[in-house]
Symmetry: C2
Subunit: 232 residues, 2 copies
DNA sequence: TCAAAAGTGTTCAGCGTACACCCATGT
DNA sequence: ACATGGGTGTACGCTGAACACTTTTGA
């Protein structure tokens, strides 16, 4: 399987994964970046990445790399785009498959992150990045904006239980504009995938806001019946 | 640049391009497929593909491969998705970056195609394909459906001059459902990118239908002002 | 009692959708 | 004359967007 009879006249290439890791905290959309600990570009800020192993698929490699950095295995992860300019990496020709991940920032293993020299940056405050990583981030932002319009993946960035004002802040951070809270509430609730709990969150306001859970069963049901977004 | 000091402990992989080539003819959306002339899977139907060279980007490789088969160089070509399952190619581990192309079927060089053993297949009549090429086709169809809703790329599949009924047939073929001709007309014309000509097309009807051109300048203008689709 | 965030309804405009008839022309 | 495809206008329902006040409670 690893030996090729008919392809051997062709060149092989390094294939890597780079991950745009989104989190949400303090009302801000954030990215997890690492300070490169190896050449080339040692010491500069970079996306988390790694090479694709011989016996793992691209998705498996992406999950492995993400877990290495965050300790998390069950997260939203989606292939974004593949970057293959000849000179994109200053060291060698490397083709990089970019993935983006949405993680619940509180579940993230800070200790692991520290080992990799990882830090969270607000999306509006991202430092210069190595190679073409900035392009990857921009593309991930566009994709995230579009996706959150047509699929409720925003929940992946919030804790299990969350309030509607929290969810709204998340959407405002993603779409970089303020939303009307009455319209937002109406729209979110009308989707029928919010499960209201009897608890309140009382840290951010005196009155307290009701907590909700994302009702995944109902979501799957609606999707399977094609009721939700029949143009996806 | 091709020698790597720091990466050499990592494995290299074959990286290929596969192209889903769309055309439109006889009221049907079609795919250009080739009969493989080499092992593995010689003689079976396949997407057009090839390996990425050492000194070309992915986009360049995709254009080269497309031109090899069709003789066309200025066509709509967009990266679709990258497929990297370990066993996806029965011969060796090959990572394939899929692209999809929209070509004006009349501009296509049949002679070149014949040399490659290429044939057009209606989208509803695609034969079994090698490896994971069927998955690529399905993903390309989804992307095309979505794209044509939010961007007028359908024009890429029609000749320079075309009638509104022709354009409607194209959209019906892509979305696999009938459309109301009054609504279709209204919507298309309201976008303001159709340039009406003084000529008529009189082959398909006795009365004749007015020919139009896609007004690219106006389209670019509208896009640059953000007037058209500000959610893209 | 006041500050700060949560929660609640209505109105309007624009857009997609449904729908039926006349027109022009070649045979 | 008739068959074939081209071309046209209106009415309705839904959805997104704008908009202001009351409630709760800790400090």
């Amino acid at each position: 399987m690893t030996q090729s009879l008919h392809y051997k006249k062709y060149a092989k290439n390094y294939v890597a994964i780079d991950s745009i890791i989104f989190g949400f905290d303090d009302g801000k959309l954030k990215l997890l970046l690492i300070k490169r600990k190896f050449e080339p570009c040692m010491g500069q800020w970079s996306l988390m990445g790694g090479f694709v192993g011989e016996n793992e698929s691209l998705d498996e490699a992406a999950y492995r790399i993400l877990e290495d950095l965050t300790g998390l295995s069950k997260v939203y992860l989606e292939q974004l785009y593949t970057y293959g300019d000849v000179e994109r990496d200053s060291e060698a020709r490397v083709i990089s498959v970019a993935y983006y991940a949405l993680i619940k920032i509180n579940d993230y293993d800070c200790e692991l992150g520290r080992k990799h020299g990882a830090e969270w940056f607000a999306i509006d405050d991202v430092p210069p990045l190595v190679f073409d990583h900035r392009k990857m981030v921009d593309r991930a932002m566009s994709r995230l904006k579009r996706k959150t319009i047509i699929q409720p993946i925003g929940f992946e960035l919030l804790p299990e239980k969350f309030t509607i004002p929290q969810l709204q802040k998340l959407y405002e951070a993603i779409h970089q504009k303020d939303l009307d809270k009455r319209n937002f509430r109406k729209k979110i609730l009308s989707m029928g995938v919010m499960q209201k709990l009897d608890e309140k969150e009382t840290h951010t306001s005196k009155r307290g806001a009701f907590l909700y859970k994302f009702d995944k069963d109902k979501y799957d049901y609606l999707m399977s019946n094609g009721n939700m977004f029949d143009f996806v």
